[in-house]
C-alpha cells in the first residue's frame, strides 16, 4: 500500500494555481465589500434587543428606521443611502464594548447609537473617545455618559440627563406632594448610583434631608424589607429609579404593605409591560418622559405616528408605541446626526463632532432644536423638555406639559 504524502501527488503548478485563485477570490470579495461600504453611510446601533428590556431596543430601532427611511427617500446623507447595522448588547457592558469594537474596526461605521442601559454606555464611552468615533445616546440617562471628563468628547445625547431629571423629580415631590422627607429606592447599578448622586445634590440645593436610600436588585422578589426601612424612617414620598421589572416589584410590595405613599419615578417603568406587572397601583406612579404621542396633536407627531403604523402593522393605537421616548429620541437623534455628517462633508470622526457643534436649527419631533450642541453642551434636551406622565389603561399619558 502506498503511503506517499498527499502534496507529493500534486504538482507544484497546480498548487500555485489554487493559491492564486484563492487570493484573487479574496481580493474580489474585498473590493466588492469596500465598494458597498463606500456606497452607503453606515450607522451602528448597540442596544438591548433581547431579554426583559428588549422593548427599549425595539423602540430605538423603530425611531431610527423611520428617520433613515425619510433620509434615504430624500437622497440620503452626502448623496449616499444610509444603512443601519444593529448589535445586541444583551444589557451586558462587556458585550456592548465588543460590539463597539466590531462596528468601528470592521464595519467602519460613521456614528454609533446606544441603548437604554447606562452601564453599557459607560463601558463604551472611553473607547469611542479614544478612537474618535461619535457616539449618540438616545436613551441612557446617566450623567457621566456625556459628562465623562474626556479632553476630546465624542459622546452626544438626545435624551434626559440624570442630574437634571433628579432636580425635576425633587421639584415635583415638593410642589405637588408637599414632600419634606423623601426616601430613595434605587436600582443597584451605575444608573442607580448616578441618580443617587443627582438626588442628593438636588435635595442639598433645597436644604432638604432624606429618610434613607435603599437599593434593589433586578432579581428581588420582595422589596418589603427595603420599603419598611424607609417607612420606619418617616419617608413621605419615594423617588424610584429602576427599570420595568424591579419597579413593578416595588409597587407590588407597596401594595402588599398597604403603604399609600406618592411615588415619583425616573422613566424606567416606561420600557415594557409595567402596568401589567405592577397591577392597578402602577397607575399612581408619576414618571418623567421627554415625549408621548398621547395628547400630542402636532403635525410632526401625527406624521411620524402614521409612518410608524405603515412600517409596523402591529402598531394599531398609541398604546402600541410603548415607550414613545425611545422612538422619539432616536428619531430626532438620527436627523441631528444626519445634519452633523452633512456639515462635516465626510464620515471623519473629528469632522462629524464639529458638525454636531455647527447645527443651527432643526424642527424635530420633540421640539425645534436651536444650536443643540456646543463644546460645553453635549445634551440636546434639558429640563424644559421633560414632562410627567402616568400609565392609564396601558397608555403613557402626560399629566404635565413641556
Amino acid at each position: 500500500m502506498s503511503t506517499k504524502p498527499l502534496f507529493s501527488k500534486l504538482s507544484r503548478r497546480a498548487l500555485l494555481c489554487a493559491a492564486g485563485c484563492a487570493v484573487a477570490t479574496a481580493m474580489t470579495f474585498s473590493l466588492v465589500h469596500t465598494a458597498k461600504a463606500d456606497d452607503t453611510i453606515k450607522i451602528g446601533l448597540i442596544a438591548t434587543l433581547s431579554g426583559p428590556s428588549a422593548k427599549s431596543g425595539e423602540a430605538i430601532t423603530r425611531g431610527l428606521e423611520v428617520a433613515i427611511d425619510e433620509l434615504n427617500a430624500a437622497g440620503g446623507i452626502l448623496g449616499k443611502q444610509v444603512e443601519l447595522l444593529s448589535r445586541d448588547d444583551e444589557s451586558n457592558p462587556a458585550k456592548g464594548l465588543t460590539a463597539a469594537r466590531e462596528l468601528v474596526q470592521r464595519e467602519k461605521v460613521a456614528v454609533v447609537f446606544g441603548g437604554l442601559q447606562t452601564p453599557v454606555s459607560l463601558a463604551m464611552v472611553p473607547y469611542f473617545n479614544q478612537v474618535k468615533t461619535p457616539f449618540m445616546g438616545p436613551w441612557a440617562a446617566g450623567t457621566p455618559v456625556t459628562k465623562n471628563g474626556a479632553e476630546e468628547n465624542y459622546i452626544f445625547r438626545v435624551s434626559a440627563v440624570d442630574e437634571l431629571v433628579d432636580i425635576a423629580l425633587v421639584d415635583r415631590a415638593v410642589a405637588v406632594h408637599g414632600s419634606k422627607l423623601p426616601g430613595m429606592i434605587l436600582i443597584n447599578n451605575p444608573w442607580g448610583e448616578s441618580n443617587e448622586k443627582g438626588l442628593r445634590a438636588a435635595l442639598s440645593a433645597r436644604n432638604m434631608e432624606y429618610a434613607g436610600i435603599e437599593k434593589i436588585e433586578g432579581s428581588d422578589v420582595d422589596v418589603v424589607p427595603q420599603l419598611t426601612r424607609l417607612k420606619e424612617a418617616g419617608a413621605d414620598t419615594l423617588f424610584m429609579v429602576a427599570n420595568v421589572d424591579p419597579s413593578a416589584q416595588v409597587i407590588k410590595s407597596l401594595e402588599r404593605m398597604g403603604w399609600q405613599v406618592p411615588v415619583v419615578s425616573h422613566w424606567g417603568p416606561a420600557g415594557g409591560r409595567f402596568s401589567e406587572l405592577a397591577g392597578p397601583r402602577g397607575e399612581e406612579v408619576e414618571m418623567i418622559q421627554t415625549f408621548t404621542f398621547s395628547g400630542n396633536m402636532t403635525d410632526k407627531a401625527k406624521d411620524v405616528f402614521a409612518k410608524l403604523q405603515a412600517k409596523y402593522p402591529e402598531i394599531e393605537t398609541i398604546k402600541d408605541v410603548t415607550p414613545a421616548v425611545g422612538v422619539a429620541n432616536a428619531y430626532d437623534a438620527m436627523h441631528l446626526t444626519a445634519l452633523a455628517i452633512e456639515n462635516a462633508g465626510s464620515t471623519d470622526g473629528p469632522a462629524i463632532r464639529q458638525g454636531f457643534y455647527d447645527i443651527e436649527t432643526h424642527a424635530g419631533l420633540i421640539k425645534t432644536y436651536q444650536n443643540p450642541f456646543s463644546p460645553d453642551v453635549h445634551d440636546a434636551l434639558g429640563p424644559e423638555d421633560y414632562l410627567f406622565t402616568r400609565f392609564i389603561d396601558g397608555e403613557i399619558v402626560p399629566i404635565t406639559t413641556n
Partner: protein, 290 residues
C-alpha cells in the same frame, strides 16, 4: 413590623428555595447526580402554567397539572439525554450537560414565549392581609405550607414505603438492588421527573409574587443549590430547613443592613457552613467500604 415583614418574606422565599433544593436532593439521593437545570425547570413550570392558564384560558387546576406533566417529561429527557450517557461512561460530563440543557431551554423559551416578563395572576396574591402589623398575600403562607408538606411526604415515602426502601437500595448497592428485581434505571429516571416537577411547583408558586420570564429561574437555581449544600444533599428535611434558613437570613440581612449586603452575607454564610460542616448542617459523611 420590620422583623415581622422580613420573616414573612423570608419564609416564603426560603420555602421556594427549599422546594428547588428538594429536587437537587432527590436525584442525588437516588443516583449521586444533580440536575443543574433546576432553575430552568422552575421557569418552565411558570411559563407553561401561564401559557395553559392565561394564554389558552384553561381552568387553572388543569393548567397546573398539564404544566407539571410537561415538567416531568423534561426531567425524564434530562436524565435520558444529559445524564445517563455520561454516567454510563463513568464521566462527570453530566455536570456541564445539565447546565447547558438549562441554558438551551431558557433560550428556546426566550424565542417562543417572548422577551418581556408577564404577570401571573393568582387569587392568592390579590388582596393583602395584615399579620402582626405587616401586610402579606395569602400565597406567602401557602408556599411554606406546600414546601413543608412535600418535604414530609418525601421523607415518608423514602423511609416508610417499599418504593422508598428500593430507592435507597438503588443508591447504596445498585447491583444488589438490580439482582433483587429493582429496576434501577426506572427509579433514577423517576427521580429526575420528580425533581423537575418540584421545580415546576416552585415556579408556579413564586410567579404571582414575581413575574414569568425566560431568565427568572437562574438566580433561584443557584440559591437553591446553596441551600441544598448547606442542608446536606442527603437529607430531605435538611435541604428544606436550610432553604427556609437561607430565605429568612436573606430577608433579615436586607431588613437590617440593606440589600447591598444581602448576597455578600448569604454566600459568606454558605462558605462558613462548608468550612465547619463539609457535609452540610444535616448531612452525613458518606462511608465507602473497601
Amino acid at each position: 413590623m420590620l422583623i415581622t415583614s422580613a420573616l414573612i418574606t423570608g419564609i416564603a422565599l426560603g420555602a421556594m428555595y427549599g422546594l428547588l433544593a428538594l429536587g437537587f436532593h432527590i436525584t442525588y439521593a437516588v443516583s449521586n447526580t444533580v440536575n443543574f437545570s433546576q432553575g430552568a425547570s422552575m421557569m418552565l413550570g411558570a411559563v407553561l402554567g401561564y401559557t395553559f392558564g392565561v394564554t389558552l384560558s384553561w381552568p387553572m387546576p388543569l393548567a397546573i397539572l398539564a404544566a407539571l406533566f410537561w415538567c416531568g417529561v423534561f426531567g425524564l429527557a434530562v436524565e435520558r439525554f444529559l445524564v445517563r450517557p455520561f454516567v454510563a461512561r463513568g464521566s462527570n460530563g453530566w455536570l456541564m450537560a445539565t447546565i447547558a440543557g438549562g441554558i438551551i431551554l431558557e433560550n428556546v423559551v426566550l424565542f417562543t414565549f417572548g422577551k418581556e416578563p408577564r404577570a401571573f395572576p393568582s387569587d392568592l396574591a390579590k388582596e393583602p392581609i395584615q399579620v402582626f402589623g405587616a401586610g402579606a398575600y395569602p400565597l406567602q403562607f401557602v408556599i411554606p405550607v406546600t414546601g413543608l408538606a412535600i418535604a414530609a411526604g418525601l421523607w415518608l415515602v423514602m423511609h416508610h414505603t417499599k418504593i422508598g426502601t428500593a430507592m435507597r437500595a438503588v443508591v447504596q448497592r445498585p447491583e444488589a438492588a438490580r439482582l433483587m428485581g429493582v429496576d434501577t434505571q426506572w427509579f433514577i429516571a423517576g427521580s429526575f421527573a420528580v425533581s423537575t416537577v418540584l421545580a415546576g411547583i416552585a415556579g408556579m408558586l413564586i410567579a404571582p409574587l414575581f413575574h414569568v420570564a425566560a431568565g427568572m429561574g437562574t438566580l433561584f437555581g443557584v440559591k437553591a443549590f446553596a441551600a441544598a449544600i448547606i442542608g446536606g444533599l442527603h437529607s430531605a428535611w435538611g435541604v428544606m430547613i436550610a432553604g427556609l434558613l437561607y430565605g429568612i437570613s436573606e430577608a433579615l440581612v436586607t431588613a437590617f443592613f440593606g440589600s447591598s449586603y444581602t448576597q455578600i452575607a448569604s454566600f459568606s454564610f454558605v462558605i462558613l457552613v462548608l468550612i465547619f460542616a463539609p457535609n452540610g448542617m444535616f448531612g452525613r459523611a458518606a462511608i465507602q467500604k473497601v
